[in-house]
Structures are given as C-alpha cells and as structure tokens.
C-alpha cells in the first residue's frame, strides 16, 4: 500500500531527470579516468573492474595516480578509505529513511551511493520524510542507475580511446571543478569555512609527503578544526545564555 502521490515508475523517471545535468558533467571525467588509468600502467580489464568494483570517481582517480607511482597496495587501500569516508555521512543521513526497505534494496542502493547520486537524492528525501508511505527509493535508484551507466560507458570509452584525448584539453581538471561545485555550498557557517581553510593549508604544507599521505593529514586536520570550532561556538553560546540569565535575575 502506498500513500505516495507518485508511482514507482514516476519516481524512477524523476530521479533520472534530476541526475541528468550532473551525469553530463561526469562524462569528461570518466573519459579522462580511462586514459589516465592506462597511462598509469593499469591493464584495460583491471581499469574496467575498478569502475564497477570501486565506483567512486575521486578514489579511482587518486588510486590510478598512486598505482602509477608504484605505491604499496596497503597505502592505496588506506587512502581510498579516507577519500571515501564522506560516503559514511551520506549513508548515515539516509539510514533513517531506508530502514523499512528490504535488505536487497539496502545492499543495492548502498552500491549506488556516490557524491553525485546523493546530491540529488537527499533533496528528494528531505521533501518527504515519511518512511513507508512512498516509493522514493525508486528516485534514488533512478539517480544511481543513470550515474552508474554513464560512468561505466565513459570510462570504457576512455580506456578504448586510450591516448586519443589530447592532453591539451586538460579534462582531468573536471574532477576538481565538480568537487568545487559540491564543496562551496557546504561552506554555510564559520566552522565549515575554517574546516576548509585548515584542510587547504595542510594540503599545501604536506604536498611533498609521499603516497599522497598529505591528503589524509589535510582531511583529518579539516575535520578536527571544524569540530573544535563548533564546540567553541556551542560553549560560547551556552556561556552568553547563562550570563543573560544572570542579568535578568
């Protein structure tokens, strides 16, 4: 039984449509991943396997760079963990509205949970927080399926074109640009701005560290600074509330 104004099919199509602009932006990045993976010495079949097994653009991109630099596997897996840790936030923010779903849906949607699918899905999920009363998991499925298809096809094309894409196009920069588009809207208060500033500063200072360990250090510093500053704000707010209370009395 469903109280949703939308059927499963309508939700699915709406998800596809909403994801379309972001999926378009992913195409150049998928192409360049294919090219870059081959250039880094990853065999074509393993590069394809990476897109379906890992299915995370930034981690694949950084992974390919690290493989090219001859980094030990364990360090690559650790870097993947840190780079993808943000998905735990996405996953936990969707968890309350996914608990009524059958296990197979939870397993499938978790596989499709990328930055780009989450960015659209969370908007739909925040519009309607009722759990069982609708078919919005089909919306999530629509965003995920479109992005998955575009990613697999564009990386495959990149792999088979090999070195046909001229380096002068600098398509690798679409990764940074996509992330700029995702990160700027998160800078909504002082702790988030400070968190980004700390991550930026440490990323510059630690750039020469081996194995991109500077990335790990920068990310952890950013998280730490954000949490501490938020704690400080909370403490200050509590203090001024207490002082105000005293004045009133």
């Amino acid at each position: 039984m469903s109280f949703s104004p939308f059927t499963a099919r309508q939700e699915f199509v709406a998800g596809l449509k909403a994801e379309m602009p972001i999926a378009l932006g992913v195409i150049p990045f998928g192409l360049i991943f294919g090219v870059l993976a081959l250039a880094a010495g990853v065999p074509p079949l393993l590069a394809l396997a990476m897109s379906s097994l890992v299915f995370a653009g930034s981690a694949q991109f950084i992974g390919a760079q690290l493989i090219g630099a001859g980094t030990p596997g364990l360090v690559i897996v650790l870097t993947t963990f840190v780079v993808n840790l943000r998905h735990a936030l996405y996953s936990s923010s969707l968890a309350p509205q996914m608990k009524h779903l059958p296990r197979r849906w939870q397993f499938l949607l978790a596989y499709l949970l990328t930055d780009e699918a989450y960015a659209m899905t969370i908007i739909r999920y925040q519009q309607d927080k009722r759990d069982e009363a609708n078919q919005k998991h089909y919306y999530f499925l629509g965003t995920g399926v479109l992005l998955w298809t575009v990613w697999q096809v564009s990386t495959a094309v990149g792999i088979f074109l090999g070195t046909q894409v001229p380096p002068g196009w600098q398509l690798d920069f679409t990764l940074a640009l996509t992330f700029i588009g995702l990160v700027v809207p998160t800078l909504k208060d002082k702790p988030h701005v400070a968190s980004a500033a700390a991550a930026a500063m440490v990323a510059v200072l630690t750039f020469s560290w081996p194995y991109k360990l500077g990335l790990v250090a920068a990310a952890l510093s950013g998280i730490f600074v954000g949490v501490i500053l938020e704690q400080g704000q909370r403490f200050q707010a509590g203090l001024s509330a207490a002082l105000l209370q005293e004045e009133v009395e």
Binding site: I22, L24, G25, P43, L46, A49, M50, L53, V54, F55, A59, G63, I67, G73, I76, V77, T80, F81, V83, L85, R86, L89, S91, S92, L94, A95, M98, Q106, A110, Y111, L113, E116, A119, F173, T174, L175, A176, L177, T178, F179, I180, G181, L182, V183, T186, L187, H192, S195, A196, A199, A200, V202, V204, L215, A218, A219, S221, G222, I223, E230
Partner: protein, 105 residues
C-alpha cells in the same frame, strides 16, 4: 599485493563505508560525537583534493594569476557560490581554463 587484490580491497572498503551506516544506524541512534565529526568530512576531504589540483599544476607551487588552474578554480568557486549548480561550475571553470591557457600559451 597484486594489483587485482588492491583494486578488490579498494572496492570492499568503499562498499563497506557506503553500506555500514545504512545497516547499523537504521537500528539505533548515531552517537553525537560521530555525527559531529562526519558533518565536516565532505568539506575537509573535498577541499584536500581540490587545493593541490589548483595550486600545484605541474607538481610545483604556482601562486600566480598565470596559473590558469588557479584562475579557473576561483571563477568556478564564484559560480558555485552564486548558482549552486555543478554543471555551470564545470562549464565556466573549463572555459576559463581553455581561454586562459590559449592566451598565455
């Protein structure tokens, strides 16, 4: 570690991060400290990825307006701030990068 195993473990780690919280936190509340830490993860991690891409274009620190990746990133950040639209952000960023590189080169 053979390359295939490295990629397999990259996948296992990524999938666990995506699935774990859905399974675990649908049954119970998330502790407050963890929620607070997770809130800053996207901002911190994405910034840590972006900044070196902009400031170290050839592996060397380039703090100058002749560094077109820095100029393009700054333009993209402005567009992202005004529009909250990822596609426009990419389009303007790449346009600045291409036109700028053409003018400088």
């Amino acid at each position: 570690m053979p390359l295939f195993l490295t990629i397999l473990f990259m996948g296992v780690v990524t999938y666990s991060i995506r699935l774990g919280p859905i399974l675990f936190f649908s049954q119970r509340e998330m502790p407050d400290w963890l929620r607070r830490m997770l809130r800053y993860v996207p901002t911190a991690v994405l910034t840590a990825i972006i900044v070196p891409e902009m400031l170290f274009p050839g592996g060397e620190l380039a703090l100058s307006w002749m560094n077109m990746r820095l100029a393009a990133g700054a333009a993209a950040a402005f567009v992202a701030w005004r529009t909250h639209n990822v596609l426009w952000t990419i389009a303007v960023g790449m346009a600045v990068l291409w036109v700028g590189s053409w003018l400088v080169g």
